[in-house]
Symmetry: C2
Subunit: 672 residues, 2 copies
């Protein structure tokens, strides 16, 4: 009995929900790789978009709307889930060998609306994985480029039933290039379902992020042609909506998944990548045709649709909020920043970025900044990029090719004075407070949204408070600050020569030189016991020298009175060698590994670490000797080498009459 009552109440509630929802439809139109300002209504006076412009007149046009990731599949997943890519699992593409997909626990707006009694359709480019999380009640196969075919199918769906509200997405494949191999935009006329409107390359507007080159203009002409074709599709579906009599119950949104396929846009967090056209027509509000400067992001789309359709959200928090309350407010307060999150485009191109964008500034955290920025295959193959490489251009648009490929860990731009995002202020002392403030906000936001990348990476300057397990890596890779210089580059101050019968050392062009006709023992004035001693050196062919450590100030036998670490051109040395004579060996005592030394004439890096009885020699970051003097038990050796017992002494270069150069000589002493 009780069960029956519960069921009845449920059915009543459900039918109320359906009734409420039946008046509230949604039409979402998504362009493919279109820059925010390449519409007439956004200020481009060349490209013809009369239908999009009409929608802007009848609705509200957002000037600061953002895709949170400028990658097709992931961006669509943000649109459909209301979650950042780092939280929904669609980190990159889902098709072919890319294999990404939504996490099973994530619910799409299609699932939520179907549960609320909606009919759903996603016509055109789907790019959605896995299928089971995208329930479409209507799913005909229409060619992505057939914009009138899409409109026709859309009309069929809109008119399909009157007792169920609808959620219709038309995802165009324009103005995505139709071919990555062909020149221009690869326009394929067999896709045309409307009379083509073509553009002369000389008329197009080359945006500041691209070079003004013939192949760029040719591409833009094709891109414009596709935008105009798509606009005709937009006109057709809006006309059908009007004819259906449902326009007054339908929220219409027009946007693009992200910016153009050209380098600097797609797969970047620069403005051309993430800033998108965003037009909302709400039949309920009277004001229209104005610009809303509120900063909105794709994470706001699902909350907006749920709000409009009075649909329950999932049992976890979404990352955005409904924009319906601020639609009619041109300058809404509290809509002052957006957060962006990118992980992959293709599975072969990880490049995690996290970004906060305020009205004036943008801070980008390139998590894997050491890595080469991976251009998506679409961009990589575009003539714009390939011709830039072929010509050997130093710049791609407003930035250097090098900086485009190898980015700073933190990028901080003032968009007011530097709209092209070129002058990175992150390390500029005048902006350190701003950097810290934005970093803190970004970090708090990523924590709140459960970003798994925070488990492995520290946002610099902020991670100290809440370090990841990899926190110590930064210090391990940056230890030079602990060292003091032993050579001023101009004099032998701090050094003294012994065995002065040899001609001694010289300073040439900032380097310390043991000339071929010079040599002798050049010792530090100070004594050192436990230390790390670093220097760079290069040897003339066949050269022989050595580094004395823990040595008394002697005129002879430093290799016995102290310890000598060999410096020697292993390959070019003209005579036969014992194992303990090769470079890095403790002379006459412990042999070093060979093969780490560069050919004579090239600079090497060396470090000698002495800590108690352990001696380590590192050449070019390869450990060639790691020995404990305590393990030397040979009585003959011990008797011959009293220096092995010493705890401290001078460091010295032991010139043997062949040319060796040293520079960047520095030391860190260990606490006893």
């Amino acid at each position: 009995m009780r069960r029956q009552i519960v069921l009845t109440v449920f059915l009543l509630l459900a039918s109320e929900a359906c009734e409420a929802a039946s008046r509230r439809n949604v039409l979402l139109l998504i362009s493919d790789n279109q820059n925010w300002d390449d519409c007439g209504c956004y200020g481009n006076e060349v490209v013809q978009t009369p239908n999009i412009d009409r929608l802007a007149k009848e609705g509200v046009r957002f000037s600061h709307a953002f895709a949170t990731t400028a990658s097709c599949g992931p961006s669509r997943a943000v649109i459909y889930t209301g979650l950042h890519t780092h939280a929904n699992g669609q980190y990159g593409h889902g098709h072919g060998y890319h294999t990404f997909r939504l996490m099973p626990k994530v619910r799409t707006v299609f699932q939520m609306l179907v549960d609320n009694g909606y009919r759903t359709a996603l016509l055109g480019k789907q790019h959605t994985t896995p299928e089971e999380q995208y329930p479409f009640t209507f799913n005909p196969k229409i060619a992505n480029r057939d914009v009138l075919g899409l409109a026709k199918a859309g009309a069929e769906f809109i008119n399909q039933a009157d007792d169920q509200p609808f959620f219709l997405v038309i995802a165009y494949h324009d103005p995505h290039p139709t071919s990555i191999e062909r020149p221009g935009w690869g326009i394929r006329t067999d896709y045309e379902s409307v009379a083509p409107v073509t553009y002369d390359p000389k008329d197009v507007i080359v945006p500041s992020y691209l070079p003004d080159q013939p192949e760029v203009r040719e591409g833009l002409a094709g891109y414009y042609q596709q935008i105009t074709r798509m606009d005709q599709g937009v006109g057709a579906i809006l006309k059908s909506l009007d004819e259906s009599g449902k326009a007054n119950d339908t929220l219409v949104i027009f946007t693009s998944d992200h910016g153009s396929s050209e380098p600097g846009a797609m797969s970047n967090h620069y403005e051309p990548g993430v800033r998108v056209p965003f037009i909302v027509r709400n039949p309920d509000i009277e004001q229209h045709g104005f610009v809303n400067s509120g900063m909105v992001a794709f994470t706001d789309i699902v909350p907006t649709i749920l709000d409009w359709t009075e649909t329950d959200g999932p049992d976890y928090a979404l990352h955005g909020r409904s924009i319906l309350p601020i639609l009619a407010t041109p300058e809404p307060s509290g809509w002052d920043e957006v957060y962006l999150s990118h992980v992959f485009h293709e599975v072969t191109m990880p490049y995690p970025m996290r970004t906060i964008r305020t009205a004036q500034h943008k801070l980008i955290w390139n998590i894997d900044w050491r890595s080469e920025y991976p251009l998506p295959i679409d961009t990589l193959n575009r003539a714009t990029w390939q011709e830039t490489l072929r010509r050997g251009d130093r710049l791609i648009g407003p930035r250097t090719v090098k900086k485009f490929l190898l980015r700073d860990e933190i990028e901080l731009y003032d968009l007011q004075s530097d709209a092209d995002e070129i002058i990175n202020l992150a390390d500029n002392p005048a902006h350190s407070e701003l950097r810290l403030e934005l970093s803190r906000k970004l970090f708090a936001y990523l924590k709140k949204t459960g970003d798994p990348w925070l488990l492995r990476h520290d946002l610099p300057g902020v991670g100290e408070d809440d370090p990841s397990p990899a926190f110590g890596h930064r210090r391990a890779l940056n230890d030079e600050d602990d060292y003091v210089s032993l050579f001023d580059g101009g004099s032998l101050d701090g050094w003294q020569l012994r065995r002065a019968d040899r001609k001694g050392y010289a300073v040439e062009r900032g380097t310390l030189v043991c000339p071929a006709d010079g040599g002798g023992f050049l010792f530090t004035d100070k004594e050192y016991g436990d230390f790390s001693f670093r220097f760079e050196f290069r040897v003339a062919e066949g050269a022989n020298n050595g580094v004395a450590i823990r040595c008394p100030l002697v005129d002879e036998r430093p290799a016995y009175e102290g310890i000598e670490i060999q410096i020697l051109d292993n390959v070019g040395y003209p005579r036969a060698l014992k194992p303990t004579q090769y470079h890095g060996s403790i002379y006459d005592v412990v042999p070093a590994k060979r093969g780490a030394l560069k050919p004579s004439g090239e600079w090497n890096e060396e470090e000698i670490v002495c800590r108690g009885t352990r001696i380590v020699v590192i050449v070019n970051e390869m450990v060639i000797l790691d020995t404990d003097l305590d393990n030397i038990k040979d009585a003959v050796i011990l008797a011959k080498h009293p220096g092995l017992q010493r705890k401290t002494g001078h460091i010295g270069f032991l010139g043997h009459g062949s040319r060796v150069e040293f520079r960047n000589i520095r030391i860190k002493e260990f606490d006893p």
Copy 2:
């Protein structure tokens, strides 16, 4: 009627297949993160593994067997698919937020065997995604660590039916650490299903890839304890197999998914990561108890099982081959190399590596070598690593922490002379032919196995023949070879001073200095027209200097007779400035962007590019000026600056009596 005949024939064939197969079972035992040599039979005299040792006596022990990726989920996917991780889609883990899974077209050995009438079970650690590609006919829930429980369930499965052959995998969770937070190996006694055998940390053998530290020994003691526990499980299932009477029809394989969880093993292509124990007991062959030196890899397991069970493979080529024909040949010919492929462990830690390993050498291609090597979370949290960081150790085992984290693009090791893989011979001229030969083999193998990473990355030295679209990046990032030096670091050779009423320039410690009390115009002897001019500089606070380009040899007005690119301390300059006076501006003509300059006292990099009428100034890789002189139409400016019309001239430093230092001064001239 015809249909009935076909069906009958099919059933006859199927029953024959079942009959043939019914004599041929497979028992595959997989240890979790165990180094290849941590078994008694592999030479470790401390850890007790009597049951594994017995299996080795009754079978064949491979000395050179390799996991192709040292990451748990992906390695198991290789074991079960016979395809490298780059081809099966299981690029990284499949659980939680990692979301990787096999590509739908890929078939697992479980699917193939089920289709051939087999019963299948994978007891213990599964780590397999997605479920639908892993059909198990028997799938009880047994705790991973309950080794006797696993044996008991295994026995139940073995004895389940006699009319169907079986494929049984027992995947232990030992000796994987039981806790990433707790000290030691985090042994949890509540997992014990056998009487624990414990080890004293002082008795363990510290392998050469780890530091001999107390926390390492404590960990190894726990690791040994788990190996011995697992060994008892191995004993129990082998006993049950004997008791079932099916041992003579059963191929038994024992291996580990990859090496230990310690740094340098797991998720590396170094030997401790990829080399695994591998024992095969084939009841059909009489010889046993010997070592087989053939090089085998996990890609060979599926072909071997298909061979043994007479099961059809998939409709695509597998990456390995059956080892059954060479089992009884201790030194089989044609088994001289293996190929390894790693992509991810966690989704947050891409680190694609491709490797060829021959009997003597190993060549590793670290595709994303610029990136910091990402330790898997297991390793990252181990005391071994955390204590290394806490102590600030320079080394982790036999290599530097720096080199462990930042690797070379190509690593080439001679394993005979350098078993620890420390001395990278890749750039050693003596090994260039070997490097090329191994690179070519590796490249051909990756092409053959359809590696998607080849679509985006060029194996250096080999990619020229078959370049990826990103081929030109390497050159774009390495253009310094095209430049010639204009300053020898020791003299002013090649330069001449004008406006000699000032005190001129000095050379100090390899740098060219304009002293505070010096200055004048220091011009190159040569003239340059179109060029890229690069130099480093640092300014004293408030300093002012300039670079003349295309300038005649004048004693006055070089900023008008030629062109002057400003050098100026924007922040510290004591007087008010016009926009065209800031650093990088064309003096009095075109203003530069500000903010790119480092504070006074720090070195900056600058480049001035002149090509026809286009002038570009780049400071610290930020483009601060990019102008076309043709766009200057102001008649007053043009009259005042005749130098703007010049096509060629001298380059010069225009000292104004404040200290500025220059170094690394170099130029590249463009062809006219």
